[in-house]
Assembly symmetry: C2
């Protein structure tokens, strides 16, 4: 059944802008018109995901719809921003209504619970890929950039880096793991959870922050580079999950350091704010773990069981 772009869009995407009063004109005209409340700055991020690069062929459309928004919301979380609106550019090999319906369901499930309104977009024919530009807001001066880490700050990470890449590898092939372990890891890859609530709260304490997408080691390097500092870290402190240990055995730490696709927050907090951080995080649904300390000497140095650890180049690079 051939369905043209306009029909597809109107069927699954229009009229879904939710009830945000700041969307003055939503999908359907040449552009959307939005109201910026006074006293806020705008925060804007753009991320693309493409089949074969950012996710393997054959994963559910629902997970792809979730993913393209989640990776963008994760950028807002890393700025301590609150989401407002997003635009979607979707490249589809064919206009397949059932696929688009499932994709839209995954996208809107996350959009609705994060309060993000879809305000526009475009569809073209091509290999499966999705680009979202997301817009959020912060109070003036409240955005947490990568550039504020100070000597002596603790280096922290949310969740369990490495789970996602293990899940992705499991999606690709057979495995002798228990179904519960396998499912948990696959879920961590398929449904990355943007740490919006946590990022917003960290705005009050973190001196620098980013989200972990390219691998923890690489991303800490970016944080330190932007801050003009270095990091000393202990791989023995890494919050390696029981599932990752089961799946990756002796390579669990390598997965955690270089896997990527975690979409966890990595951030720095002054030593004296540690107790406040732990109190704040006590009721979060995700654990936080201190894995190192900011130092003056540039570079990212890991040790493990008292010895220097050489971290391999990121194994799973996107471009």
């Amino acid at each position: 059944m051939p369905v043209d772009e306009r029909t597809l869009i109107s069927r699954y995407f229009t009229g879904r802008q939710g009830s945000r009063p700041d969307v003055l004109l939503g999908i359907g005209d040449d552009a959307a018109v939005l109201r910026c409340e006074p006293g806020w700055d705008l925060v804007v991020a753009t991320d693309s995901i493409a089949e074969g690069t950012h996710f393997p062929a054959g994963i559910p459309a629902h997970a792809i719809g979730h993913r393209c928004l989640a990776v963008n919301l994760s950028d807002l979380a890393a700025m301590a921003a609150e989401p407002l609106w997003c635009s979607l550019a979707l490249s589809l090999p064919k206009a397949e209504p059932l696929w688009v319906e499932e994709f839209a369901a995954g996208l809107f499930a996350l959009a609705d619970r994060s309060g993000t309104a879809l305000i526009g977009g475009d569809t073209v024919r091509g290999p499966l890929a999705a680009t979202i530009t997301v817009q959020g807001r912060v109070r003036p001066g409240a955005a947490v950039t990568r550039a504020g880490a100070r000597i002596g700050d603790g280096i922290w990470v949310t969740g369990h880096p490495g789970d996602a890449v293990a899940g992705r590898l499991l999606l690709d092939g057979a495995s002798q793991l228990a179904a519960t372990v396998r499912d948990a890891l696959c879920q961590r890859f398929l449904y990355p959870e943007p740490r919006l609530h946590e990022g917003l709260a960290l705005g009050a304490l973190a001196t620098a922050m980013l989200d972990v997408s390219d691998g923890l080691h690489d991303d800490i390097g970016k944080l330190m580079m932007a801050s003009g500092r270095g990091a000393e870290l202990d791989a023995g402190l890494l919050p390696v999950s029981a599932e990752l240990r089961a799946a990756a055995a002796g390579r669990a730490i390598e997965y955690a350091l270089t896997g990527g696709d975690d979409y966890e927050l990595c951030f720095t907090v002054p030593e004296q704010a540690t107790a406040r951080l732990q109190a704040m995080a006590a009721d979060w649904p995700v654990a936080i773990t201190r894995i190192g300390t900011v130092v003056s000497e540039p570079g990212v140095r890991w040790q493990y069981q008292g010895r220097a650890l050489q971290v391999p180049d990121s194994t799973f690079r996107h471009f």
Copy 2:
């Protein structure tokens, strides 16, 4: 020479955000931070262009860089909005420095003269395609939507619809046209000029407006549908250029009505504002032409030399 994404981006795209004081944090962090001036609403559009669909393979990278921004600025023009910022998602088959340099030159030439700051983006490996999300601003209530056309309003168009599709067809093959004619038409396809100045000025007079991307006939249909009105038009009034007559001969009117890729503005203006419109447009670099009138009966009806004209389905559809 293999060049990775990060190197490419930093070489050609960072540090190019220009001097807009409302860009508080530009390219290089998880997201950009932007200042919305009080007393303005935000206008946001997203358009993608893909090789083989929106432009043929082999056209200059400079023209592709121009095009991906131009088609988005054209959407802002059609809202009577003023551009502020844009984000770019670029899909590239390979990271080829010379190509990227030329692409960036085309993009920034238009960005700089339109006052649009590039504030972020993403690059992925894939077939050549570019998505831009552009943000502009209007005074509250000043956006011109598609929905305001009133009975008796004149229907107007800027420039010379049909030139662009003729240019595109000429790019594809040999031609016996004079080089000057051929070059002029190819230029019209390769370098669509967003009618920003004209769109902004039309904010004071137009009751409804859009930019012509899918073909004049189709797009007038959208304008009338959104306005709940109909259109009666005279194809004999179409501003067919001498170049298009030379290139398309007996099909010039068909090209003008169904070609698309024009990125001209089509708008409606009350009869009694005609003189003001003409005075305003007298010093524009682009002509404006009245081609019809808004009526109550839905539908878009053309006549030509006193007879009803049947318009064929758009010949050049993108999805």
